[in-house]
Amino acid sequence: MFKTFLALSLFIACIGGAGAAESEREPFDDRYCTTCHGTEGRGNEGVQAPRLAGMEPWYLRRQLENFRGDIRGVHPEDREGIAMRPMATKLTDESIDDIIEWIFGWEYIPAEVTIKDGDPSRGRGLYGGCAVCHGANAEGNESLGAPALAGQNDWYLVTQLKNFLAGYRGAHPNDTYGAQMRTMVSTLRNEAGILNVVSYINTLSR
């Protein structure tokens, strides 16, 4: 179930000034993601950090680069994005490679369904337009740059759709893929639409 790919020590770093005691200093690494994203990246509602296990490596890389490059998580109303962005700011390319490989080793377990007040049959109709890019089973489509949605934490999908709708995500001039998504979200119109489509996505599996 659990696989470790690289020896942790490879990416353990030390910062700061010189000094005889430096060798005795407590080491640290960049694999701190599970503090927020939960056991093997299965998502943690308590900190609103979504599932990473099973995420497509290309999508994961793009998001980490977007956070690192101040493209995502900068809007003052984007509470969760603001929590995540500084987590990526100091990652090196080497660290990102390591993290992607590490996360790739985690078992994909679909997230628990928490949303009860959406209407999946209405959501099904709304999802028709989404399927073009995200796939009929919400399994994602690499060539269009659209990630899988099935199995992702439903509360997280809701936050993202709200954020796209409000322009907290996808509004940055360099956020090419986010901008594509943002134009699509208007079809959902409001919170009820968002809950309906997400409760439909909850019925799909990859």
Partner: protein
């Protein structure tokens, strides 16, 4: 003043006092208030040899309390701690220490001397927190007084006298004087005498006079309580100028100054000499060998006859099987850890929010504040850095560690800044009180508790509405306090109604152990 205090309001005052006394009586009758002068040692049953394995998740104060007590009566305790250090929110930073703030890791560069330390988390222990003090006594922790209110420290607010810092004592002496004068005037308006007997009225008036140091004719004309402008020892003292009431009323800072010795900070306050983590050391002297560091809990499965815990240490997955489990992992992190908890339990864990607390500290090249008669205590600023704490450790030595910011309720502002922005903000704020601050301090450290690895926040916040607990909240709280299968207990200040204190962490642990004990006796 346009509005007089009515007789009805006074009567309310009188009856309210009666109400409190009655409530206190009821409280002690129900056994809600502690009776003993110091924590009674726990009277626990010796461990049953067939059921003596205990897993403790998190080496926070509550976890260590359990390890210490249960080890005494023969349990075999193992503590899993995901961080490299014990103590959680009790964290003293010294030379070379790693501050594991995610996204802002730092090593502390303070000089390597015994008095050069900073309590980044818990810092004060009220004398009424008898359970934590009981352990300090039992574990031989040296205590010293913590100075919360220092009348020679400053208050600074751009709205007050053009932002010129004034001494705490000037603010409090004059404010009390003017308030007393007002009260005296409204009382002598005659009709007020009615709810009081003559002797009560007389006592009240003399109290008011001494509260504000009024003249015989009930006027405030300044006071030597604020110290002398000159002289006072070999020559007559010269009284300081009065600050006009209208000017004092321009600042809202009075709340902090007048509340300094009220509520939780009313009793005498203590700190552990040499740093608050000496308390943690007191525990680890006994149970340190049982702690597995860098051991992150990944799954907790409560079974009929025990608890299985899987955790990761050095990149490898490990399994720990125990008869009982005590868990102080912060609630919002526990929700991300695989578990088979009942739904009300997870609901409670998800419900709790976390306060944002932020602290920063500087090494001062010289103890410039001592030249201004300041030894210990707090200066208050009406800016985001909010407070400067002066150390008592190392008095009259060359250097010292200053707290340069403590942002309690609203820590997100600094949390969102880069390390460099934070430091610049504190220098800019601090030099409003100490003009040469920027040149006098160095080697800053900044700690945003919301980003501290394995903690991600300060105190547990149960109440959505600050005015009180809702019934639902109380139900969730009581559900979380109960064990699962009599095998797994959540502990920590998060399982108390008074979070953000060490006492609450200790008492939650004691409650859980007492509950287990009762079940075993039954």
């Amino acid at each position: 003043m346009s509005k007089q205090v009515t007789r009805r309001e006074f009567l309310n005052l009188l009856s309210a006092a009666g109400g409190t006394a009655a409530a206190l009586k009821a409280g002690s009758a129900l056994g809600l208030l502690p009776h003993t002068a110091q924590a009674a040692s726990m009277d626990l049953l010796a461990a049953d040899p067939a059921k003596r394995k205990v897993a403790i998740l998190g080496a926070g104060l509550s976890g260590l309390t359990v390890a210490y007590e249960l080890s005494k009566v023969g349990y075999e305790c193992t503590i899993l701690e995901s961080s490299h250090r014990p103590g959680g929110r009790i964290f003293t930073v010294r030379h070379g220490d790693l501050i594991d703030e995610i996204g802002n890791r730092q090593y502390c560069e303070f000089d390597d001397e015994p008095h050069m330390y900073f309590n980044a988390g818990a810092a004060r222990i009220p004398s009424t927190h008898r359970n934590i003090l009981g352990y300090c006594k039992e574990l031989n922790i040296d205590l010293e007084i913590f100075i919360n209110e220092n009348k020679t420290s400053y208050v600074q607010d751009p709205a007050l006298l053009g932002g010129k810092p004034i001494r705490n004592i000037d603010y409090t002496t004059h404010t009390r004087g003017f308030m007393a004068e007002l009260l005296a005037k409204s009382l002598s308006a005659g009709e007020m005498d009615q709810p009081f007997t003559d002797s009560e009225a007389e006592t009240l008036m003399s109290l008011i006079r001494s509260f504000g140091n009024l003249t015989e004719d009930n006027l405030y004309k300044g006071s030597f309580r604020a110290g002398y402008a000159a002289g006072g020892f070999l020559e007559h003292g010269v009284q300081k100028d009065i600050i006009a009431f209208r000017d004092l009323l321009k600042t809202q800072m009075g709340r902090q100054l007048l509340d300094a010795n009220e509520g939780d900070t009313g009793p005498i306050l203590f700190q552990a000499a040499g740093g608050m983590d000496k308390i943690i050391e007191g525990f680890t002297n006994h149970v340190g060998q049982q702690i597995r560091y860098r051991s992150m809990v990944k799954a907790v499965e409560v079974k009929d006859a025990g608890v299985d815990i899987s955790y990761e240490q050095d990149g490898a997955e490990q399994l720990l099987q125990a008869d009982y489990c005590f868990n102080c992992i912060p609630s919002h992190l526990m929700t991300g850890i695989t578990n088979n908890f009942p739904s009300q339990y997870t609901e409670a864990l998800k419900y709790i929010r976390r306060g944002t607390a932020y602290k920063a500290a500087f090494q001062a090249k010289e103890r410039f504040w001592e030249k201004e008669d300041i030894y210990g205590g707090i200066s208050w600023m009406n800016n985001p850095s909010s407070q400067i704490w002066y150390p008592t450790a190392g008095m009259h030595k060359q250097k010292g560690i200053l707290l340069g910011a403590y942002d309690y309720g609203n820590g997100e502002l600094h949390t969102a800044m880069t390390h460099e922005q934070r430091i610049e903000a504190h220098l800019t704020d601090g030099e409003k009180i100490h003009p040469n601050y920027r040149n006098q301090v160095e080697k800053p450290i900044t700690i945003a508790w919301h980003r501290m690895n394995h903690m991600l926040g300060c105190s547990a916040r149960w109440q959505r509405d600050r005015s009180g607990w809702s019934h639902e909240e109380e139900d969730l709280y009581h559900a979380l306090q109960q064990p699962i299968n009599g095998r797994h207990y959540m502990i920590g200040d998060q399982v108390s109604m008074h979070s953000a204190w060490q006492e609450s962490a200790v008492m939650s642990a004691q409650w859980a152990m007492a509950d287990l004990n009762q079940r075993l006796r039954a």
